[in-house]
């Protein structure tokens, strides 16, 4: 009962924080996709780059999220604004699943299919855009799904560097030892993660059913 009253009383604030949260994750995901998918493709084309690129993104993934925010603090342009910093950290965090799934998706395309495409006179670019990427799309989408769900969770920590989002409530609640505040951040964040998971799951299935 108390909690419901709390939510209604702080509704506007919660919505604002949720919107910040979504914007932060959204921009970070666009950046991560924009960098991760091309990197994943690059890795399928140049074997020598596979170990360094996958290794680096793997390494980033192992850094505790709070520490990653911390590491970025001394970087000049990034640290000038806290949202910049948070978005960069989230994007870096999301790289691994996207790169890895792009790589797995493309290398998982039946070699015979690829050869037929080449045999019919497709250029490398045509093969990539018309055959490899469409066939890898559901796997790539699965990577984006995982990355998004993780990013929604990690983004609560962005409040620690002052970037806002639902984490504000969580941190405030921890400081004041007030569960209502914690839940006011945690429940919407969890719901967002679930919604993203569900939405991307449907998209993934739709991409799969075509073949």
């Amino acid at each position: 009962m108390n909690l419901i009253n709390f939510f209604t009383a702080h509704w506007a604030e919660i919505m604002r924080a949720a919107l910040e949260h979504i914007t932060m994750v959204g921009i970070a995901m666009l950046l991560a996709i924009g960098a991760g998918v091309p990197l994943g493709i690059l890795v399928t084309r140049r074997r020598s780059l596979r170990a360094p690129i996958l290794g680096t993104s793997n390494l980033i993934q192992t850094i505790p999220s709070l520490a990653l925010f911390g590491f970025l603090l001394p970087v000049p342009w990034l640290a000038a604004r806290s949202d910049r910093l948070a978005i960069t950290a989230l994007a870096l965090y999301s790289l691994l699943p996207i790169i890895r799934n792009t790589y797995t998706g493309i290398t998982g395309v039946d070699p015979a299919i690829r050869e037929v495409g080449r045999g019919m006179g497709m250029t490398d670019g045509q093969l990539l855009w018309q055959v490899e990427l469409p066939l890898a799309m559901s796997t790539i989408m699965a990577g984006i799904r995982v990355a998004t769900v993780i990013a929604i969770g990690v983004a609560t920590i962005a409040a620690a560097v002052g970037a806002g989002g639902l984490g504000e409530f969580v941190f405030r609640g921890v400081a004041m030892v007030d569960n209502q505040f914690i839940l006011a951040g945690a429940i919407p964040a969890a719901l967002l993660a679930l919604a993203a998971d569900l939405g991307f799951g449907l998209l993934e299935k739709k991409l799969q059913r075509r073949h």
Partner: protein, 259 residues
């Protein structure tokens, strides 16, 4: 180099192909495929049939000798142009699973940037040619087709841009015997009308006898000889007579059961 006459669409001159690990898959292959004929490459798995085929459209490159297509060595062709000049059909997996029958068949014309209306008309024409009503099939995906229908679409796709040369790698290999017999017959009558130069890979001696103008027998990367179906039956070569014996024993089985 021997003088090339007008009749050869494809010519292999002393071609040797090794894998990256150095295994020899073809050695000193010499072969001339005449314009308008159906040359069947017959041999067991691993004899080098598919390798031979892929050397023609540049999917593989030989280390020694040269492969000449329409008077020009493959090495000096623009590979993209060469491949669009040659139709290519393979067993079963050949269709792109994520696009419709219509887009599969219209693929090379689309790559060649034909106007949309022309592609549409061409696809209808081709589906009709391979015996699939366009209205019913054009919007289907490959997984909504039977094996025989897929093979027909594959054939239609290979013919799409009207290439003078067709390469076919066991295109009917995955079909049940009844469907295969129907499609073989249809392909034969189609070929008599279209007059393409066809290189057809198979390990099925009956298919070879049925379709071939000439049969080239490969064994462990060597060319044993090129025979007309009639000469094939009379050859003294051990491998060839093994094949002929297969045909004979099938006939005997048939006669034995009938009498």
């Amino acid at each position: 180099m021997a003088d090339r006459d007008e009749g050869a669409a494809i010519e292999f001159v002393d071609v040797t192909y090794r894998t990256a690990e150095g295994r020899v898959l073809l050695s000193k292959l010499n072969l001339r495929v005449l314009r308008g004929e159906t040359l069947v490459l017959l041999g067991r798995s691993g004899s080098g049939k598919t390798t031979t085929l892929k050397l023609i459209n540049g999917l593989l490159t030989c280390q020694e000798g040269s492969v000449i297509v329409d008077g020009k060595p493959v090495s000096s062709w623009d590979l993209i142009r060469l491949r669009r000049h040659i139709g290519y059909a393979i067993q079963d997996v050949g269709l792109f699973p994520h696009i419709t029958v219509e887009r599969n068949v219209g693929l090379v014309p689309t790559l060649e940037k034909w106007p949309l209306q022309r592609i549409r008309t061409r696809v209808e024409e081709l589906l009709q040619l391979v015996g699939l009503p366009a209205g019913e099939f054009r919007r289907r995906y490959p997984n909504q087709l039977s094996g025989g229908q897929r093979q027909r679409v594959g054939l239609g796709r290979a013919l799409a841009a009207d290439p003078p040369i067709l390469l076919m790698d066991e295109p009917f290999g995955a079909l049940d015997p009844l469907t295969r017999a129907v499609i073989q017959r249809e392909f034969k009558s189609l070929q008599q009308r279209l007059n393409k130069t066809v290189v057809f890979v198979t390990h099925d001696v009956r298919e070879a006898m049925l379709l071939a103008t000439r049969i080239a027998v490969l064994d462990e990367g060597r060319m044993l000889g090129v025979y007309s179906p009639r000469d094939f039956l009379q050859s003294k070569d051990a491998v060839v007579s093994d094949y002929v014996n297969v045909l004979r024993s099938e006939m005997e089985l048939f006669q034995g059961l009938e009498s």
